[in-house]
């Protein structure tokens, strides 16, 4: 989330990407950084034991949502 804030601060369009286990952590950190809303995409957990092809499948499945997140008008709102 700090990376998101740093990129946004430099005018780089960004979205937050993590697995579903990190919804609460992302929300807590976003609040602490002053965001009311952050464009975020959560892929199914787990990640660590995925094979390369499974990770690629996760990425493919999330692609549309990621593109939507970075193209939605109004990025992170503080």
């Amino acid at each position: 989330m700090h990376d998101f804030a740093a990129l946004e601060g430099r005018g780089v369009i960004a979205a937050f990407l993590a697995s579903t286990q990190f919804v609460v952590a992302a929300s807590a950190q976003a609040r602490a950084l002053g965001y009311r809303e952050v464009p975020a995409v959560f892929v199914p957990h787990p990640i660590q034991d995925r094979t390369d092809s499974e990770v690629r499948a996760l990425a493919d499945a999330a692609l549309a949502e990621i593109i939507a997140a970075v193209t939605r008008s109004g990025q992170g709102r503080r």
Partner: protein
Amino acid sequence: MSTERNAAVDLPADGLVAVVKADCPTCRLVEPVLAALPQVTVFTQDDPGFPAGIRDRRDDTALDTSLALEVETVPTLVRFAGGRETGRIVGWLREEWQEFTGVGGLGADLPEYRPGCGSRTLDPDMAEELLVRTRGGSLRSRRLEIAALEDEVEALYDRGFSDGLPVVPPTPARVLRMLDGTSRRPDEVVAVVPPNLVEATVEKVAINAVLAGCRPEYLPVVLAAVEAACTDEFNAHGLLATTWGAGPALCVNGPIRAEIGMNWAGNALGQGNRANSTIGRALQLVIRNVGGGRPQEVDRAALGHPGKLGFCFAEDEEGSPFEPLAQSRGVPAGRSAVTVFAAEGPRGLADQISRTPESLARSLAQGLRSVCHWKLPGGFDASLVLCPEHGRTFREAGWDRARLHRELDELLLLDRAEITRGAGGIAEGVPAGGSARPIPKFRPGGYMIMHAGGGAGMFSAIVGGWAGGPGGSAPVTREVDPWR
């Protein structure tokens, strides 16, 4: 001694000022003497009706004037001229009073000498109130109002300041006393604390040291620990946010260990010593209460361990076969320092048979190899806490720390065939292929060796760490003395 009149209190620009209290036999003794002085302003600390027969008698039961004059003994007689103090005497000595006041024949019927009594400003039961009154203005933190019927400890639980154990309520007086443990200003920034990247001032650290149960003399260690933990190298943010269960641990070196009564002997890594238990806890409370790092929020540990309440111990330097850890990390001899490192809970390693350093080193290497996973090299750091009975074996053989590291490095070269994925029927491991050369278990500098513990028991401890190096966490050492 104050030399100028304090603007906050009303003192005469010229003439004599006396400070007394009715509770003092010497003050009562000099009551007629004060009444006989042609001009004196008398401030009374307890009974506004005392002493009798004084034209300009003032109530100082609030002690403002006594504090402004820094009165330590009553009676005190002060002379002002042109708004400045030009002299002062305390107690009763007839000749001295006559000379000081310029009035002959004073107290002719009194004993020649009586010592004074302590000023009410020095009463132990006044200390807390006066401390807050005189220095409370230096504190900048938001004040919490606790209702009269609220239990203070419960209120601190309810407001989220606790790690699960009771905390000591950080009243202004306790925080001010804690701040006496350092010469640094309360508003000085110690570090920027993750995960929320909040500036921790000396005052904020002191508040958390109070919450943790520290004594003021521990504060320099806590400050140095916060400084060390909030560096990019230590990466407290990553250590907090990882799903791995390690937390920050502290090893203290140098004279401050003994000065604050730390334990490096029996049960060194365990409970029962206030400094050990509360210093580590204070660091964790700073990360929680200043940085905002809380379990199940940004602290994502799948399991964690009990030492995340606080993990701090001192190294046994005197009994060690090696130079102190801090010295091996660049701190000059004789200086106090704290080293912060990522730590799981310690796990015992028994070897009660080895009599040679070679055999013992092999046992220790086996223990170190199990960190993270027996088949995984290169990723995780670790620490070895060598017990005195194991240390003896290396001392008698003339092995220094560097020699033990060299031997362990050699023993911790892992055979690729043993650690390839699938080997031993275990899917976990390194990918097949690549060089056939053995792979080091640890990155260079990826494990530390410390010495602590009781004199009996051939049981050292392996303390697993977390991902080492860039992107992970590396141990960081900071000197304590700059924070005194």
